[in-house]
């Protein structure tokens, strides 16, 4: 998936990949992260 110049909503999870990590990954691929959060689904 090409994320360059795309707007991204990054929803991470404690038991998986957290929000800040997803944000860094998306930004490194050229995306603009408009919202990032870590959820705990339990």
């Amino acid at each position: 998936m090409d994320l360059k110049d795309k707007k991204v909503v990054a929803i991470g999870e404690r038991e998986g990949v957290n929000g800040p990590s997803l944000k860094l990954l998306a930004e490194s691929a050229g995306a603009s992260v408009v919202f990032s959060v870590t959820q705990c689904f339990v």
Partner: protein, 479 residues
């Protein structure tokens, strides 16, 4: 130095189907769509199915985690025949008993229940002798008058109006009836767990020096929301008259923080006997009800859970807490699953020259997967165990094709309700103690994580761990 140990454990499930509507998620969703209330009522389980539900039987000790693993899923369809609500280290109580406990815990005349509920509560609340004379009700007319004259929350039993809890202040959100309902339910379930933890224990309530509350409630008013301390409020009811106490707040990781702190206090000689306790999370009742309705399964978050542990000097029949083998997740450690488990599991074991395979059982996030999977939250314990197994592979302790065996032997299926701090490793302690007494377990590690980021003050997670081993006398007896 005194060897600190966990001397006794107790667990409680309070079946509370009429409380589900007042969980945080159902409250918000029903406000938006009132037709959901009838759907919730139709999806609730009866008492006998809750008692016979295999994970619940495991929570109170009538089944071992290995017994549970051998029962095919869905567990909802494989109920335990002739199941009893009383187990070797836990029990399940009815909603009427819960109302009775809440009534006797109510020091401010906040809660009103009907005569009928009070009478049922006195009958169904067995093996509990504190303040029973305070379980009193009112007539239906008197209840109607209380409702008319006060701002608050109507309460239900078996689908019918059966009580009321009033707000304690007109303009204080922290003393709103709904918040007080959550706090009183937490106190009441914790009181039962602490009362039970003395049954069959060598320690009496008056022997306790200190109490740590670890629940997820926020007791306080507008000037100190979450100020606490529910520990003393609980100790007062069960006769821990020589104890003081405080709360440890660390989201789901609080009980493990508290057990480590209690062990350190005992080891130092500061206190001899400490009770660590946690009451139920009313806010989490029905948390995944939407997913359960969507999947056509009963709403399984229908019980409040509570627990209590006595920590004291090793008495020869206990689980020693190895203070030299505790793990912590430092602020600078990073939040990936691998970084967390490196800090919580590998680092403390390495310090002691131990391998991951030197631990007989790991108790991680013990959430019942049957509750979480319909909401696409996955099998949380299994995910954690596979991460641990993968780390053992990376460390060269096991081969890649031995991962499933590692998970099966050193892990277990989740059997705890999704009650936040309750599932975080500590539900296994009762089983660990039983297995050590049988000579089947020489070392277990309890690992808990906390989602600090939920409060929006940091992006960090938290975590702590400790290792328990049998008393020397237990090991010698079983040799």
């Amino acid at each position: 130095m005194v060897d600190p140990a966990i001397l006794h454990t107790s667990y409680v499930l309070a079946h509370a189907p009429d409380f589900v509507r007042y969980g945080s998620k159902p409250t918000r969703e029903i406000e938006t769509d009132p037709s959901l209330l009838a759907q919730v009522a139709d999806a609730l389980r009866p008492w006998n199915e809750v008692v016979a539900y295999p994970p619940n039987q495991t929570f109170i000790g009538n089944l071992t985690p290995d017994d549970l693993a051998a029962i095919p899923r869905p567990w909802l369809e494989n109920l335990v025949p002739d199941a009893k609500p009383d187990g070797p280290f836990g029990r399940i109580v009815t909603q009427a008993a819960l109302y009775g406990l809440m009534k006797l815990c109510d020091d401010f005349e906040l809660l009103t229940i009907t005569d009928a509920v009070a009478e049922q509560a006195r009958t169904e609340l067995t093996r509990f002798e504190h303040r029973r004379d305070q379980i009193v009700g009112v007539s239906a007319d008197e209840l109607a008058k209380v409702i008319e004259e006060n701002k608050g929350l109507e309460l239900f039993h078996e689908g019918e109006l059966a009580g009321f809890i009033r707000s304690a202040h007109d303009r204080d959100a922290s003393l709103d009836a709904h918040v007080l309902f959550e706090n009183l339910a937490c106190k009441a379930t914790a009181v039962l767990a602490v009362s039970d933890v003395f049954d069959g224990s060598p320690v009496n309530p008056e022997d306790v020096d200190y109490m740590f509350n670890t629940g997820e409630e926020a007791v306080g008013d507008r000037y100190q929301r979450g100020g606490g301390s529910l520990s003393k409020a609980v100790g007062e009811v069960v006769g821990c008259l020589n104890a003081t106490g405080s709360d440890i707040k660390a989201f789901c990781a609080a009980p493990v923080h508290a057990l480590i702190a209690a062990a350190a206090m005992v080891a130092s000689g500061l206190h001899k006997y400490i009770v660590v306790l946690g009451g139920g999370s009313q806010a989490k009742m029905g948390m995944k009800f939407r997913a359960h309705l969507r999947n056509g399964v009963p709403i399984m978050e229908d019980c409040l859970a509570a627990m209590a542990f006595i920590v004291g000097p090793d008495n020869g029949d206990a689980m020693r807490i190895r203070l030299d083998l505790t793990g912590k997740h430092p602020i600078g450690a990073g939040s990936s699953a691998q970084a967390i488990y490196q800090a919580l599991v590998v680092d403390p074991l390495e310090r002691a020259g131990l391998n991951m395979t030197d631990v007989g059982r790991y108790a991680v996030e013990m959430h019942n997967p049957e509750i979480t999977e319909p909401g696409d939250s996955g099998d949380v314990p299994k995910t954690n165990y596979r991460t641990l197994a993968a780390m053992a592979v990376l460390r060269g302790e096991i081969e890649r094709d031995e991962m499933d065996e590692f998970v099966a032997q050193r892990g277990m299926p989740g059997f705890s309700p999704t009650q936040g701090h309750i599932p975080a490793g500590v539900p296994y302690l009762g089983h660990a103690h039983a297995a050590m007494r049988r000579g089947e377990l020489q070392r277990a590690m309890v690992v808990a994580k906390g989602s600090l980021f939920l409060g929006r003050m940091t992006q960090l997670v938290d975590g702590v761990s400790f290792v328990v081993e049998p008393s020397q006398e237990l090991t010698e007896t079983n040799e």
